[in-house]
């Protein structure tokens, strides 16, 4: 459980509401004003608090690396990212103490005003494809060959942290010469000639079988 005190608060309020509701169902008392107020607490106030706390906890859980790795088709990505020996871009970012536990979300989330709901809607699409798009039956090695990004990786995601205005960034001649290509995503930061693939085993698997567009 990733949870914070909010998870505990959700469970506590749910338990308190359950006590009120079960007592009412078992005792079958008359509906006096006092009972109605208790029921308001048991049906409205406490479940409302529990819903808010569990939603926040659930949304928080969906940003964790373990959550992304809970589908077997993500096993290779998860194992590589979590490996302390791996030198892949994903693994090195996952070792970052500030956001490492949420590395999948931090690197793949859309940014901007509607970034959060757009990312969550994309996540729902992943769940749909997992259960109804054939991924559930697919072996992990098969998935490694088929899984690819639905759209080109946006360098803006890298630039959220690696600012292009810093002197260190501007000092690199390749950054200067390819600035336009990097800004328009014609060249990816995470490409073979630059900083390397984020998930290199995935690219190797796809290189062995040829490019696949079987599933987004």
């Amino acid at each position: 459980m990733h949870g914070s005190w909010l998870g505990g608060a959700a469970l506590l309020t749910a338990a308190a509401a359950a006590v009120i509701l079960v007592t009412f169902l078992v005792q079958k008392p008359a509906l006096t004003l006092n009972r109605k107020l208790w029921l308001f607490v048991g049906i409205g106030v406490l479940p409302g608090l529990s819903a808010v706390a569990s939603t926040v906890t659930g949304m928080e859980a969906t940003t964790q690396r373990e959550f992304c790795g809970s589908c077997h088709v993500m096993a290779s990505h998860y194992v590589d990212s979590s490996s302390v020996q791996s030198q892949s871009l994903a693994a090195r970012h996952s070792r970052n103490p500030f956001f490492g536990k949420q590395s999948c979300y931090v690197c793949h989330a859309d940014y901007g005003m509607y970034g959060y709901p757009v990312t969550k809607a994309g996540g729902l699409r992943h769940v749909y494809l997992y259960y109804f798009g054939g991924y559930h039956q697919m072996s992990a090695s098969e998935a490694d060959q088929k899984i690819h990004l639905v759209k080109q990786y946006d360098n803006l995601n890298c630039r959220q942290c690696h600012t292009t205005t810093a002197a260190d960034w501007r000092r690199i001649p390749d950054h200067q010469s390819m600035r336009a290509e990097l800004e328009s995503n014609r060249v990816s930061c995470a490409s073979a000639g630059c900083h390397g693939f984020a998930h290199p085993f995935n690219k190797l698997a796809q290189a062995r079988t040829g490019p696949s567009r079987g599933a987004p």
């Binding site: 469970l11 509401a17 079960v22 009412f24 169902l25 509906l31 819903a51 906890t57 859980a61």
Partner: protein, 87 residues
Amino acid sequence: MIALFRRALGVPVVGLTRAACVFALLGLGLMSYSIIDQRAIPVIVAMSVGHAFGIAAFACYLLAVILDIRNSRTLAVSEPRNSSLDE
């Protein structure tokens, strides 16, 4: 829609209240389970079906309260007439 509302008005208050309790317990169960088992399906089910149960529970409770108030008003209006008839 109006027919549905009229039918709802005919439902006994106690039945509605008990239904509200059951819906709320189901919703709370799903939401609590999603905190213990934080995989995709439990979390999604809690945030969709769980919340739907919660909303249904509160709607049933509100309807029960409205019906109870209406019934008590009807009773209050009819009581003086009955008392005058007794005399």
